[in-house]
Subunit: 402 residues, 2 copies
Amino acid sequence: MKANIAIVQAGGPTSVLNASLAGFLEAAASSERYHHVLGFCNGIEGLIKNQVMHLEGLSKARLDALKSQPGAVLGAGRYPLTPERLSKVCCNLQLREISQLVLVGGNGTMWAADQIAEACPDVQVVGIPKTVDNDLWGTDHSPGYLSAAKFIGEAVRSLALDLWAMRNFERVRVVEVMGRNVGWLAAAGSLAQTSLPDYPPLHFYLPEHPFELEKFFTKVDEHLHRYPCLLVIVSEGIRLADGSPVAEFEIGRCKVPGGAAQMLSSELRNRGIPSRSEVLGILQRANTWSVCERDRQEAIFLGKQAIGVLGQGKSKVMLGLPAETVDFAEDSKAQWVDLKSVAGLERPVAPCYLTESGIDPSFTAWLQNKMGEPLAEANSALQVWKLAAEQLSSNPVNRQSR
Amino acid sequence: MKANIAIVQAGGPTSVLNASLAGFLEAAASSERYHHVLGFCNGIEGLIKNQVMHLEGLSKARLDALKSQPGAVLGAGRYPLTPERLSKVCCNLQLREISQLVLVGGNGTMWAADQIAEACPDVQVVGIPKTVDNDLWGTDHSPGYLSAAKFIGEAVRSLALDLWAMRNFERVRVVEVMGRNVGWLAAAGSLAQTSLPDYPPLHFYLPEHPFELEKFFTKVDEHLHRYPCLLVIVSEGIRLADGSPVAEFEIGRCKVPGGAAQMLSSELRNRGIPSRSEVLGILQRANTWSVCERDRQEAIFLGKQAIGVLGQGKSKVMLGLPAETVDFAEDSKAQWVDLKSVAGLERPVAPCYLTESGIDPSFTAWLQNKMGEPLAEANSALQVWKLAAEQLSSNPVNRQSR
């Protein structure tokens, strides 16, 4: 007898979350093992409220289009799973005779997946990693991260060139990047530096190192003695030595990280240094134009692999990308780990990728290798300027007028 | 005898400000009328402080690269022109025997250009329009605007799909767009709607209409009765009926528009409606990836035309783009207007482009025609969802569980 299978997209969307869904649906359709292929809506909420849609009838053209759509077509979102709600989930899965369940999400979703697997022993449960923050263990990196990293690299590069042009008006620009409690996304700003080798060094502040305000001021002062302007990249989740966040704000009953850039640029202005803040915001996880092709392919790959792993009878596992580059043409396989080994845990940036003052070049090399594509070239403008700066300093009229 | 000519980039950078510079330099090099081709650095500040660079030796490869660089390679920035400083400018132009001066900038720069032309009667002064805000009179639209508009269209589209996915967590997202005192950029958000015809209507608030908080609340409530989520686009410069800004903040001694989105989403949360704000920020004027090809070509075109118009002996004029599409292959000519007719003036969005509740479709059609390229297709995900929504409402289990 054919089985019923269901999928859930949970947490915040990414640029390639729908690509995983499309890969899953393609593989489910071609496996011929399934009667109904269902999607629960709005993440965990749909599992609890029993809101599903039938996905078995989607055309190939629609699936192909879906592979390039940001967002989460099923609806994702945040919704806490309480014990009472968990038993509703089990009822709903039973009611619809669903024997296989796939959850695409981050470490919170993997925790929920593990809870569901424990509570509904008749259901095979498999997780697919998805997070722009890249804070999941058990996978080399998570689908969603590379596209967000590419966007951040291009955005930081653009903001750096803009600041260079505005340096008589604004000397320090503080850019806030997503990432929750880890610095993988902020570290991706180092891509901009490889693309602008002549630019003054960027400064990075990640949650992996305690933030010290006085040290921050000292480094700003030292930098401005040598260079006309400074671009600082801060993680939204930076914390003081006592563990308290540098800044956060409340939305309803949720505390959300954010506000560090605004706070720091305000502190700089109080010290007489012209400074502004920029928040890269939700475009980091939502943008359509900086999707990393390899990220998209990896998301599709893991969606397909879920069907394969379920066919092997596996359950209570999260799929992951191996450290070596996946060859999509070959019959590459995903790796998997126990859900319990990743559920609710956060993976910080590896210490070897961080230096006392910033990002180790080995991190940027690793990231570029994973992305498999460079940022567009953008150093010409600065080279022109460098010529100019040399002229300026060698020109007696200019020297006199300074 | 060959003349010396100089160019200045002033105000905030755009994605195509360097393209105008490159066009100017190409035409200057091929005209053979010039001895020195100079660039003043850091906008008006460089004119005052006599900081120049020699630009005549740049290779074709470097000029071609410059055409795709965001920012302002000469440095731009804001620097007030006082009477005392104006006489310094005249001295510096005389000192370097500069008889032709080109300023690329917005309405503030055109005011400065007019002042300089009056104070230095021996210097031919020509302005090239440049503003993402599109608030200059005397030209159909300004270089910089179309690229910023394209970015905003794509960003709003991405944020709309993301909000759709997160609608169980966040019902109203308020997106703040640049534009100073006019709504051309906010109106460009309507591009997203053409690209997502099935999306709930977007709401727009522009400085051209006085903002009323109670009316805003009423419209939000009405919308949320009919749709699961709402994306609101507000200009940074929206004002109350008494002319005071809805929000602004201070950077040093400057008052800068901004903060309206944050304020409005906070007000909504106070009324129990889950809401967040997003500020598109400086990427609107700085981004490298959403450059509109026609915008870039128009910027190059006007840079070249400046040399032609100066050759005809014109002065005290600003070049402009005609209403009809420029044919770059043909020998199209720029139009020009007296500097005095544009200096310091702001052009609001034409009333015919605005409806009581938003943006008239004729505006979006005009903008798409000017851009000459569509946004990428992105409606598939919503079509899939629409199918789902129909299933949900026709499914007795779902109805029961609501």
